[in-house]
């Protein structure tokens, strides 16, 4: 008979061989009454006669693994049981010294072979990797959704690529600049990475943002480059980590700040600081962690927001470059990824707040005559905006020419030609009817043909702006 069990859960099987004596036997071998052959691990076997354990080397000899000899002659009806655990070798146990440090893992690197896998860098993820010796490796994942900063890689610049003295305005999409004091002169501009020089291998950033202050000015108490994250509920009461790459013209210290703005009609704003960060002249990734205050008991008004403010030096001539801004839950700066993970996703995310519609060349915009000297077109937004947006347009005059100047437009009807007339910027209104669509009206026309669609053509600097910023 063979009984299998797992004493102490160690995976050792116990085999029992049971024999009914016919009388006179001093040697045992062969099959038992249940058809199992006698087999035991030498030195680990136990031999019982009628339940009494015999003494190895005195009452019997068991040296072959398949026979037991030297027994006192058995009596008919004696029941002999030979019990033996399966062979095991403690030399196969994995020694503790295999691991060297906190977080190390023991992994297989082949049949019956293990090795130490040193713990990965903070935020990395263990993935199967057939080309790695251990079959697994730590890797940086570019996952979308963790980063609450939109346009953290400064890939979207709908408003332009250079902003002179950008006080109180948005610059790169979602990035607002504001400062006080007097006499300072600065430019925020889009800068292009030389191919292969972006600070993250495997993530070839295209652009970074530069704040170049050429005249220090005086009296500055704040100098902010911040992003308002929609809804003050964002990360409220949570530990968050701000990370970004930055470099400067010389050693500079920045202390990013945050603001919980409860919006119009809401509680008073709450402000705080991250840790001070020491920039050098080389790209370097910085991370700093804070726990945001709870919003329990607060009143949330209209347009509440969490402001993440990178800041730039006060009252100083300086150049600061930023790239790869990320804000995420937790105390570890995980590998950078944009909020959406894709260029088109980032553009759409930006256009929830701001959309610049080019009216240059053949715009695809068609106007119809409403009467009352008014031509009108409905313009649909590519993304539903946060709220019904404010609107402006850069159209200064009308021409009958097909070659308008930068801010001129013309209207052309198929088979009819360009609409004649004179008209100036004061005869334009633009507005939005909802977060989905807007309209543009041009006034002052004298009896255009009704029922026709007039194609709007514009100069290279013609555009319509729609803003639903916070």
């Amino acid at each position: 008979m063979t009984v299998t069990r797992h004493p102490n859960n160690q995976g050792v099987t116990l085999t029992q061989w049971r024999y009914n004596a016919t009388g006179g036997e001093t040697t045992l071998s062969g099959t038992d009454a249940f058809g199992a052959g006698l087999s035991y691990t030498v030195g680990a076997e136990q031999v019982f006669v009628n339940g009494v354990l015999l003494e190895r080397g005195v009452d019997y000899t068991a040296s072959t693994g398949t026979t037991v000899t030297g027994l006192t002659a058995l009596v008919a009806g004696d029941i002999v049981t030979v019990s033996s655990p399966s062979a095991f070798n403690v030399a196969n146990a994995i020694p503790k010294a295999t691991v060297a440090a906190k977080g190390d893992l023991i992994v297989g690197n082949g049949a019956s072979s293990v090795t130490n896998l040193a713990v990965g860098a903070d935020g990395t993820t263990l993935v199967a990797n057939s080309s790695a010796g251990a079959g697994v490796s730590w890797t940086s994942q570019f996952l979308a959704g963790k980063n609450k900063i939109i346009n953290g890689d400064f890939g979207i610049w709908q408003r332009g690529t250079s902003f002179s003295n950008p006080n109180g305005v948005y610059t790169a999409d979602r990035w607002y600049c504001g400062y006080d004091g007097s006499g300072s002169t600065r430019t925020i501009s889009q800068q292009t990475f030389t191919a292969g020089t972006a600070p993250v291998a495997g993530y070839e950033g295209t652009y970074f943002l530069r704040i170049a202050t050429t005249v220090a000015g005086s009296g500055q108490t704040y100098a902010n480059l911040y992003q308002p994250i929609e809804d003050v509920r964002a990360f409220a009461g949570q530990t968050i980590t701000l990370s970004f790459w930055a470099k400067a013209d010389s050693s500079r210290t920045l202390t990013p700040t945050y603001g919980q703005s409860f919006g119009t009609g809401g509680s008073s704003a709450v402000y705080g600081s991250f840790s001070a960060l020491n920039l050098t002249t080389s790209w370097q990734r910085f991370s700093t962690t804070v726990t945001l205050p709870s919003i329990s008991g607060k009143t949330i008004g209209t347009n509440s927001q969490l402001q993440i403010n990178l800041t730039f030096p006060l009252n100083a001539v300086s150049t600061i470059d930023f790239w790869g801004v990320q804000v995420e839950a937790g105390s570890v700066a995980t590998p950078f990824t944009t909020a959406t993970g894709t260029l088109q996703g980032e553009l759409a995310a930006c256009q929830r707040y701001y959309y610049r519609q080019s009216l240059a060349n053949n715009t695809g915009v068609y106007m119809t005559y409403l009467g009352n000297a008014t031509m009108s077109a409905t313009l649909y937004f590519p993304t539903i905006m946060r709220v019904t947006p404010s609107a402006t347009c850069n159209i200064n005059s009308y021409t009958t020419s097909n070659s308008p100047t930068a801010t001129q437009v013309y209207l052309n009807a198929y088979y009819v030609g360009n609409l004649s007339g004179t008209w100036s910027s004061g005869a334009t209104t633009i507005g939005a009817g909802s977060p989905n669509f807007g309209y543009i009206n041009l006034y002052g026309w004298t009896s255009p043909t009704t029922g026709l669609l007039y194609s709007l053509g514009g100069g290279t600097s013609c555009y319509a702006d729609w803003s639903a910023e916070l």
């Binding site: 109180g168 400062y179 911040y226 210290t253 202390t255 700040t257 006060l314």
Partner: protein, 56 residues
């Protein structure tokens, strides 16, 4: 900034804001629009840019 209330071609009241650089914005009277809120509270709200700075 100069604010005016104007009526658009659809007969709706909108806020017309003229910025220092001459840009004219047409702002819907939507309470959720931040520019409209800025107009409504132009005499009481601080500048949106004045997040206190911890200093260098």
């Amino acid at each position: 900034m100069i604010y005016e209330i104007v009526t658009n071609v659809f007969g709706e009241k909108v806020v017309q804001r003229t910025d220092a650089d001459g840009t004219i914005w047409f702002i819907p009277t939507d309470p959720a629009n931040a520019d409209y809120q800025a107009y409504l509270n132009k005499d009481t709200l601080p500048s949106n840019s004045s997040i206190p700075q911890a200093g260098e």
